[in-house]
Each structure stands twice: as structure tokens, then as C-alpha cells.
Symmetry: C2
Subunit: 433 residues, 2 copies
């Protein structure tokens, strides 16, 4: 039996979507690694009664651990500490040494906000040093300490781990929480699970559903595997979680999928296409440059997302205006006149321009109609042309039509381009004329 | 009394964070507009018992409406329809005309997936046409229809609105749900709220907390205003929701904030800095171009995010390698030698290069240390230099040090740059030497 946990994310700004929640998903991954089963994540606003209701719900499900994120800040609507203390029946008291340590952090930040009303900041932050009786304090990474709060002595119920909202602070604090005796006791003997991921590009999710059914019919024991499939940024991910004893069943499933989807399975070790492209470029000492129109810099941003990307990403041109395509990427203006700015011919010229102007080994060109305006019957919204060229003299060019919003089309285009880069690096492509 | 609602987002891929949830926040905004109070959002995996528990929890809170997103797909783990039907005590039956309409949609998509096993797709999709007795069907936007499922006749409980997971489908379907008689009845007489937003740049969130306390002390009636403050991408947002009768109290609060924060309040009408920059450029017929190093194209991508941005965004250079700074943005190599690639001098040369090479009215240059490596004592990780130059001969240049991860630093840098562009467009800046 795994320990079971729930996550409570607090904050009206998260509930209303003004801030995207990064903590729920991050904690979900950490719990999975620790072999803890996640029952659910609840997002509530800053109203104490809603937070109490969420804690009570998770308690009623018999969970072992509830993790809260947020509501530890200095403002009056930051009430998590008080609500959790009351819920666990553990009165709050000021921890003076802790208050002193928080003050030291604040003094260090003082120069950054010279125009601040300092007394009010200090008063507002004093409440961050209020600790429920018997709770374990997790040292602050920012100014807010975290807490591990067991149920009141002699009572049953979940241990509540209270973490700050800023992802950087929460992530730095989690290992301390996990090492605390209070949390270790609540988790008891959690089973460690194995997690494996397969990634495929170029097939619909429903085809994987069919494959799973056929695998089962062929004798693969799916009952011991927890298989999740999902479509993310145009790729199908098959994530399987299983107890170590089910390794044989997983191996049989993976072999079955591999045989049926040899053309589209590009990752069996959890690596993303971004990691594969980065690794290949690094290993070979090759470089890449881009010339983008409709994606407006998103591909260059994606190629430079990773630490150390300066080893292979030289840069790129965002050639949004036609004049910029000609001037900055060296596109022959007659190509634009003859075939239109959105054409495979122009995507090839953009790729060539990126290759030559940056003196790169790989050049990528993208041009398309991101919409919502600008579509025509021949080149509707979502029609995008791609070309990837390698210095060694081979090239892949294609055009496709993508569904979705302007944002979807721009994002999905970077995925299509990344896969074309992967294929060209693997040796695919036609000889350059 | 407002109607109260809860949101249940289903999908193991969302719970585990493999897919970011766009639907909860989007629905939260729509509910706020409709004057419906949102009690909370629950994310659960694809296990039917967890989804049932979430529905039961919301029912126990006495909510009027529960909205579910996801779990309507063709795969075996898509179980929302069945779970909701059972929860509401309304048996499922095949809606044959609906099945026919779904088939028509699938036929239209057939060419896109020529390699598909067609029979299994059709069988998998048949379950999407199963409808609980007495439910209102919302016509499919993709292949999955939505549902509005009232509690069983003669019983109390929330009306459940079942919507598909893909944001594009969910968003297109929501107006249909809202117009349905079943949902209208469940919502009863919801009060319409006013929502107003103020945005400030360059102060910490705690200073706004102090301002709110002082406003209350000065006689502003905060009890009739629901004020939420949050820090988003380096900006402080103050969102206030109130019933129409509290308009006077809001006006007093806004005046108080305006007086205290005149230097940092940049938006009082809900507009973002992106919208303000776009509007000013459009109104004046001016153009902008970028030369980015550490942000790697994110600023160009942000400037081209909006539909119609081709009217003012000419493009940009991503000059990641030093050679690219020289070759593609015209940076004098002696500046890089003398001051380093990360220096205000190089950021000015990048801005000038963007201005001249793209023949733009505004040029932006960014260079910095995004980390996690590459920091030095003088130029640590997070140190970023910016320059914005206007063709009319004025320039703003600054350097700053930002906290956080590589991703935070890159993202926050685009916000700093956008605010500098806004200020230069408003006439600020030193004369260009």
C-alpha cells in the first residue's frame, strides 16, 4: 500500500488564472518519485474557509499527507499558517530566533527597495515567524519558512506540509521537508515506483489506445502497469508507472509499441526532442542558426532555453517583415514575388540564409500564416512551410497545415521544426540542388 | 447571494503536470464575468473513484454548478461521461443522430491520418455519443460533445457541465453551455460583478499591502471590495471585484493608490504593457526591431505574439554567439573586448544595430547572464543590460540584477525591456550622443 497525498494550492491569483500554477505539477513529480500516490490537487482562493474545506476533504479521504503551497507571504490575505495550525489543533506562537533570521534576510534585501516603508515591511513579515506548536520549521529560502505540521497528539489525520508559493522557494525547501522525521513517519513505507516514458511524433493519440488494446489481447499484462497517454505540443507521450516486480510486463509492452510504431517512436529513455537535438549537436561540435517568420523568435528561444546552449546555438534572424527577409536573411525578393512569403521556396531560402549568415552547420527556415487574419484559400491560417538544411549538403523541406489558435500554431511549428532538425541530424534529407 | 461553482479538471497528464492546465483559469474568468463565485478547482487523475470523490466534495459544499473539463476522448481512460451520469443518477444511452454527426467529423479528418486503423477509431469514438438521460447535449467542436447534466429529477445537488479537455473545444463550447436552460436554471439570479485592474511596475508586493492598510485607515471602505494583489512576471497587479453599488468605494481606493504610486502605476484600464506598446506603435505608425543575446528571441516572440503585430514588429536578431553580435547586429568587436559581451555598451550597440539594420523607429538591445553558469563576481548570474533607442535620438540604458532560475531571468528580462520600450515611446530617455 502506497502512502497517499493531496496538494492544496492557495491563492486567488492562481485560482483565477492570473498566475499559472507551477507547484502542483512539480510536487506531483516529486511525489511520484517518492512512491507516493497523488489523490488530487485542489486550487482554492485566499479565503480561509475554502482552504479549511480543502484540508477537511483530503482528511476525509484518509490521506497520509497534504502539501500546501502559497499563502505564506506578508500580506493580510496570506493565511495558510493560521488555517493549518487551527486545522491541526496546534496553537501558533512566535519563534523569536526564527524572526531574527528572517530579519537578517530582509536587511540584505533592503538596498533593493530603498524607497520602501521599512517599518511596515518588518511588521508584515513578523507573522511569517509564527509557528504551530510541535511543528517542524523548514528554514526560509526567501523570507517565508515552511512547516511540517503533524496532527495533534493522540489524533489521526494527515500530516500537513506547508510550503511557500514562489516555485524557487518551494523547490529548494522540498528536500528539507522530505528529510524531516515528521514527514518520513507520515509516509511510512512508500513503495518506490519505476516510471518510463516513450515519445512518438506524427500519430494521433487514438492509435496508441488501439495499440494498448492489441497489446493486452496479445498477452501483455496491463493490469500491473499504470499507463497514461497524452498529447503534448504535438507529441504523444506514453508514461508507464509500475512496481519493480512488473518490469517484465513493461518490457513486453515497450517491445510491442516499438514494433508497431518504429517510424514515429523517437524517444524511449525519457529524453525530449530538445534534449536529443542538443546532445547530438554537442557531441558533434556542430552549430545551428534560425531564420523565422511566423514563429517570431520562438524557435531561437527554444534552442537557447537550455543551460549551455551557447555551445551550439549561434543565434537567428526574426524576419517578420518581407524587407527583413531580404535584408537580414538574404532571401531573393523574386522568390517572394513569385511564390509568396509563405512558400516552401522562401522557407528554403530562409534556412540557407541562416546557415550562411551565421556560418552554422544547420540552418532552419520557417514561414507561415499564424493567423487569425492573413489566410487565403490556398494558404489558410495554420499553413506553415519549413526547411532544414545541413552544411554537408542535405535538406528536408515540408509544408503542413496545423489546427488551433495563433499561439497553438506558433508553438506547434517549433515542435515540427525540432523534429525536422532531429531527422536531418540523423542523416535524412534530399541532396541540396 | 451569488451562485457558487466548482471546477473539476481531469486527466493524469494534467495532475502530473505533463500538460499545463489552461481550462481552470479560463473557466474561472468566465465564471467571474457571469457573477458566479468560484469555490475551488480540483485536479484529479483519470481514476473514476477520484473524480467521483471530487464531485461528491463539491456537492457536499452545496455548490450550484460543477464544471468538468477533460476525459471525453476516445481512449479507455476517458471516463467523465460515465462517472457524471452515475453520479447524477441518469443512465447513459446511445444518441444515434449524435453518433452520425460525430462520424461526419471523423470522415472529414480521415485524410489527415491515412495510416490509421479506421475501424478502431470509429469504435473508440462511438462512446462519445453516449448521453445521460435528460442531459442537454452541447454540439461537438472537435469530436467530443459536451453535456449539461442536472441532478436526477426530484433530488437536490449541483448541475454538472461536462466539457472537453482541449482548450479550443472547451472555449468554443462554453457559450452554448451558458445559454442552455439547464445551466441558466442552476445559476439562478447571479449578481454581475465589476472587475477592475491596476498594474504597477517596480515596487514589491508588500508595499501595496501597506497602501491598502493605509487606505482603510484613511476611510476607504475595503469591506465591500474584494482586492487581490499578485506579482506576475515582475509586475504587481491589483485586481478588485465589487458589486455595482460599491463603485464609490472602488473610486476612492483607486485614487488613493494612484496618488501614492504615481511613478509606478502604468495601467488603470486592464491593459498590459504589451497592449500599451502595441497600441502606441500602431497609433503612430512606428516600427520596432530587437537584437537579443541572453533572451534568445523571447522578446521578438513576445512582440509578435499579438495578431496584427506585423504592422509594427519588423523582426530581430538573436545574436547569441559573439561573432553573431558583430556580424548580424553590427556590434563593434572592440566594445566586446573592452567591456565584455555583457555590458551596457554592448546593449547600446545591439539596440543601435537593431534600429539601423531593420530600419526601425525603435531598437532594443539585451545582453546578460541567464545562468546557471557563466557568472562572475562583477557580472553574476541574473545581471542583464538593456538599451532602447528611438530614431528621434533618445535612449534609455540600464543594467539590473534579477533573481531566479534561467527561465525566470529570461522571462523577466523581456518584461523589463517592454517597460523600457513603453517609457521611451512616452518620450523618456537621454539624447543619443
Amino acid at each position: 500500500m502506497s502512502a497517499r497525498a493531496g496538494i492544496v494550492v492557495t491563492g486567488t491569483e492562481v485560482l483565477t488564472g492570473r498566475v499559472a500554477d507551477a507547484n502542483g505539477p512539480w510536487l506531483a513529480d516529486r511525489l511520484a518519485e517518492a512512491g507516493v500516490d497523488l489523490a488530487g490537487t485542489v486550487v482554492v482562493g485566499d479565503r480561509p474557509e475554502d482552504m479549511r474545506a480543502a484540508l477537511a476533504w483530503f482528511a476525509s479521504l484518509g490521506l497520509d499527507v497534504v502539501i500546501t503551497s502559497g499563502g505564506l507571504g506578508p500580506t493580510a490575505d496570506d493565511l495558510t499558517g493560521e488555517v493549518v495550525a487551527a486545522f491541526q489543533g496546534r496553537p501558533l506562537a512566535l519563534d523569536e530566533p526564527l524572526e531574527g533570521r528572517i530579519m537578517k534576510v530582509l536587511e540584505g534585501l533592503r538596498s533593493r527597495f530603498a524607497h520602501l516603508d521599512w517599518d511596515s515591511v518588518r511588521a508584515a513579515n513578523r507573522k511569517q515567524a509564527m509557528v504551530p506548536h510541535g511543528a517542524t520549521v523548514l528554514e526560509p529560502v526567501g523570507t517565508a519558512p515552511g512547516l511540517v505540521v503533524p496532527p495533534a497528539d493522540g489524533t489521526e489525520g494527515p500530516t500537513v506540509v506547508v510550503l511557500p508559493g514562489p516555485p524557487r522557494e518551494l523547490q529548494a525547501m522540498w528536500p528539507m521537508a522530505l528529510e524531516s522525521r515528521a514527514l518520513q513517519e507520515a509516509l511510512g513505507g512508500a513503495t518506490a515506483y519505476e516510471t518510463r516514458e516513450l515519445r512518438l511524433f506524427g500519430i494521433p493519440e487514438s492509435e496508441i489506445a488501439t495499440t494498448l488494446e492489441e497489446a493486452e489481447a496479445a498477452g501483455v499484462d496491463l493490469s500491473v502497469l499504470e499507463v497514461t497517454t497524452c498529447l503534448r505540443r504535438g507529441e504523444v507521450e506514453v508514461v508507464t508507472r509500475y512496481e519493480p516486480a512488473a518490469a517484465g510486463a513493461y518490457a513486453a509492452l515497450e517491445a510491442f509499441i516499438r514494433e508497431r510504431h518504429v517510424d514515429t517512436l523517437f524517444s524511449d529513455d525519457g529524453t525530449t526532442v530538445d534534449e536529443q537535438v542538443a546532445r547530438t549537436l554537442m557531441e558533434r561540435g556542430e552549430t545551428i542558426a534560425t531564420a523565422e517568420s511566423c514563429t517570431g523568435g520562438l524557435l531561437a528561444a527554444r534552442l537557447t532555453e537550455r543551460a549551455g546552449s551557447s555551445a551550439y546555438a549561434l543565434g537567428g534572424v526574426v524576419a517578420y517583415a518581407n524587407a527583413a527577409k531580404v535584408r537580414m536573411a538574404g532571401v531573393d525578393p523574386t522568390l517572394i514575388e513569385d511564390f509568396g512569403a509563405v512558400s516552401t521556396q522562401v522557407s528554403e531560402a530562409l534556412a540557407d540564409g541562416a546557415l550562411h549568415r551565421f556560418d552554422a552547420d544547420v540552418g532552419v527556415g520557417i514561414t507561415g500564416v499564424a493567423g487569425p487574419g492573413g489566410g487565403t484559400p490556398e494558404k489558410p491560417v495554420g499553413f506553415v512551410c519549413f526547411s532544414v538544411v545541413h552544411r554537408e549538403g542535405r535538406r528536408l523541406t515540408r509544408s503542413t497545415r496545423m489546427p488551433g489558435s495563433r499561439e497553438d500554431i506558433r508553438d506547434r511549428s517549433t515542435t515540427v521544426a525540432m523534429h525536422m532538425v532531429r531527422r536531418v541530424l540523423a542523416g535524412e534529407g534530399e541532396p541540396v540542388r
